[in-house]
């Protein structure tokens, strides 16, 4: 029975893969149409890499701050962080980018599209990360806290030496997923004309009507960014593994 299931699943998946690859590969492409846009696509890819990497660092910082705020045990910061997380998670990123750039940044006279994009992406992704981090911290059993207290660790020492090292292992898979989302979400920065990867493909398509030729590079380009994160996460999961 087990073998039958795995055989059926294997056949269906392999057949689907082959079908998709065959359909995509046998389409007649006019690659020459987008040849002039190669440079733009490449610079767009770099921009996506750059803003994603910076936002990744930013979102971890925001995520840690929001988690710390919520777990601080003080009512006001805890409540404010909660509100921030709920608002960010409950509203479209597109709207956040528009409001953030045209209303908020504009009103304080800040005109860096890259800078504003970086801050908004960091806040957006950081809100999701903080929920992952909080879940990780709260999943550490009470017995660990009790043991740490009995030994005489301070609250900070307990986080530093006991809770966070165990929580890291638990939040890695979900965080890696969130990082992949962050990279793809950066494509929405086209609304404030950040010349990232998707925007370049969009322009190439608009000028040539070679839709697939313009957009197919995105498949490879984004995968090249997200797959290493997946690999790194697996690697780190193994490094932080403590049960056999």
């Amino acid at each position: 029975m087990k073998y039958a299931v795995s055989l059926i699943v294997s056949v269906i998946l392999s057949a689907s893969f082959c079908f998709v690859i065959w359909v995509v590969a046998t389409h007649e492409y006019r690659w020459e149409a987008i040849t002039p846009y190669q440079g733009n696509l490449l610079s767009g890819w770099w921009m996506t890499l750059l803003i994603s990497a910076a936002s990744l660092v930013g979102s971890v910082a925001v995520g840690i701050l929001l988690t710390a705020g919520q777990l601080s045990g003080h009512a006001v910061p805890s409540f404010l962080c909660r509100v921030f997380v709920e608002v960010i998670r409950g509203t479209p990123l597109l709207t956040q980018i528009l409001i953030g750039y045209y209303l908020i940044a504009n009103s304080i006279g800040w005109d860096s599209r890259f800078g504003v994009g970086l801050v908004i992406l960091s806040c957006f992704s950081g809100a999701y990360l903080s929920e992952i981090f909080r879940g990780g911290v709260e999943s550490i059993p009470k017995s660990q806290w009790l043991s740490a207290r009995a030994i005489g660790f301070t609250g900070l020492q307990t986080y530093r030496h006991i809770v966070i090292p165990q929580a890291i292992r638990r939040v890695l898979p979900a965080s890696a997923g969130q990082f992949a989302n962050l990279i793809k979400d950066s494509s929405l920065l086209f609304v404030i004309s950040v010349h990232e990867f998707t925007m370049q493909a969009r322009e190439a398509n608009a000028n040539t009507y070679a839709t697939f030729e313009a957009y197919l590079p995105l498949v490879l380009g984004y995968f090249l960014l997200t797959f290493p994160i997946s690999l790194l996460s697996r690697h780190l999961e193994n490094r932080f593994r403590y049960e056999h």
Partner: protein, 244 residues
């Protein structure tokens, strides 16, 4: 160490876990054993004595000074003691050795070399020298308790508090842990222990107290409580647990 408990009370909401216990223990009582039915208040009394809980009312004096009441002072107090719970004492992300070394370094301010040397001595004493490199998940329940006991003893605690240290173990493992506790008793370590192992209690205790419904029902020097129980509750309890 003399212990003086006066009207000690701990309520959790409507539950009176410890309900007005008074007790005077002279200096020559080195091993105090708490027995009684589950839910009778043994664990709570141990945690109060170990500075892990703050009493709702009443007070505890050790060596003529009141137990502190602020978390910070209690932490200092806890650092001078050793505490062992029923199970899940160890930090699963640290090796057996690291479980002992980390508190010595971070809580007691030893150098790493001193801590490793000391850890080596205690694990050798507890017959665990061959297992120090292992992770807790690779140790049996009895081995885990022995490592946890080694950790609780490593800094030379004034007082060792053991909360049903063998209740989660099978008979063979119980024996290997109780052997060590008996050896510590003989070596003159001050111990307060709650247990369901009546044979052990009888053999090692200088003083036995019987708790039920959060109250002290009866106390007796040495084996007196077992040989001639004064109250019906204790007679019934002993009759039941000794039957098999």
């Amino acid at each position: 160490m003399s212990i003086e408990i006066n009207g000690l009370t701990k309520h959790y909401g409507a539950t009176r876990a410890v309900d007005g216990i008074s007790l005077v223990l002279p200096d020559e009582v080195r091993v105090l054993v708490l027995i009684g039915p589950s839910g009778g208040g043994k664990s709570t009394l141990l945690r109060l004595l170990g500075g892990l809980e703050i009493p709702t009312a009443g007070r505890i004096r050790m060596n003529g000074t009141d137990l502190p009441v602020t978390e910070e002072d209690l932490r200092e107090f806890r650092r001078r003691n050793g505490f062992l719970f029923q199970s899940f004492n160890l930090f699963p992300h640290l090796s057996a050795l690291e479980n002992i070394v980390l508190p010595l370094v971070k809580v007691h301010g030893w150098t790493r070399d001193e801590a490793i040397a000391r850890a080596g001595e205690v694990v050798a004493r507890f017959g665990m020298a061959d297992h120090v490199k292992k992770m807790p998940s690779e140790l049996s329940g009895g081995q885990q308790q022995r490592i946890a006991l080694a950790r609780a003893m490593a800094h030379g605690p004034d007082l060792l508090l053991l909360d049903e240290p063998t209740s989660a173990l099978d008979p063979e493992m119980k024996a290997e842990v109780l052997d060590i506790v008996a050896e510590l008793c003989e070596a003159g370590q001050r111990i307060i222990l709650s247990t369901h192992e009546m044979g052990f209690a009888r053999g090692c205790a200088d003083e036995v107290i019987f708790l039920a419904n959060g109250q002290l029902v009866e106390s007796g020097r040495g084996a007196a409580l077992f040989d001639s129980p004064q109250t019906e509750v204790v007679r019934t309890f002993l009759g039941r647990v000794m039957k098999w």
